[in-house]
Point group: none
Chain length 146, copies 2
DNA sequence: CCAGTGCGTTTGCAAATGCATACACGCTCT
DNA sequence: AGAGCGTGTATGCATTTGCAAACGCACTGG
């Protein structure tokens, strides 16, 4: 067994960045790293240290552990905590709210899977979500909910 | 700001090692790193990369995450809700999708809390997010909070 | 007494990280 | 035509990682 996803950490970061629709420099600024270095990291030229990885995770607003798992730095013995199970087990929300969350999550999964199978389609496949209507700019300013 | 815990990771490793009653060289061998380097790491002279950390964790038979937390590489905020933790740890959705889910969930929580205190009076009738526009079919009937 | 073995530490040194600077390309104005 | 601003990329260089080899110290036993 060779290591399948050794270099995938860079791809993953770039994927997350482009999905978030922020530029390399923006992410670098938010993460507190230099943009040329981030570029090299995304292409697998350089392998970032844990600190850099952590800061990138912060800049991307994703969990550090997700990055570590992708980088193969965590054995991921756990079945990547099931979101649906957690939602169903939550007693602080109503049944209807639960249903909304489940539906949205599943639709995300479905569209992501569809995007995968589409291969490299230059045009953005169906814009999966009107996230802009939720928070406007998720990137620069902090998001605010009423 | 965050410089104090630089050496604590080394202390932690050494603590774990002595507690396991194995020598520096033994641990180095099991972890697949050189013993001189491990010595430096334990005294805070060198700061190991994530890979080394992961291997040391393996050698110590402890969870990688414990080490990362000690090294300050994982923020380990309070347990939060299981739902949020699961969402943040999910690698199958994009950062923006993640943020949408988090926002929706938090808004649910907030409104529920407001409903508790106010009795049955909807404090803010304006829906914080039109999640229905995200997936269209998910909640055709809409979801007015009780 | 001092060879043999274990321990942890120090000492160079190749290789890598991470940054600042400069570069090439694309786009929009005036 | 350019100037200007945006993107991502190559290059030079200080700093650091991480290792192999050599070191000092304590304990054994032939």
């Amino acid at each position: 067994m060779e290591l399948p996803k050794v270099g995938s950490i860079g791809e993953y970061i770039r994927e997350q960045r482009t999905q978030a629709k922020i530029s390399l420099r923006q992410l670098a600024a938010q993460a507190g790293v230099s943009f040329p270095y981030l570029s090299q990291v995304e292409r697998g030229v350089r392998k970032p240290s844990a600190e850099i990885l952590n800061q990138i995770a912060k800049g991307l607003r994703i969990s550090s552990q997700a990055l570590y798992v992708q980088a193969g730095l965590i054995d991921e013995r756990e079945p990547e905590s099931d979101v649906l199970a957690a939602i169903r087990a939550d007693v602080t929300i109503t049944g209807r709210q639960r249903q909304v969350l489940v539906d949205i999550y599943e639709s995300f999964r479905k569209e992501n899977k569809a995007a995968e199978n589409e291969g490299a389609q230059p045009t953005q496949p169906a814009e999966p979500l009107d996230a802009a209507s939720l928070n406007g700019h998720a990137t620069s300013e902090g998001y605010n909910l009423p």
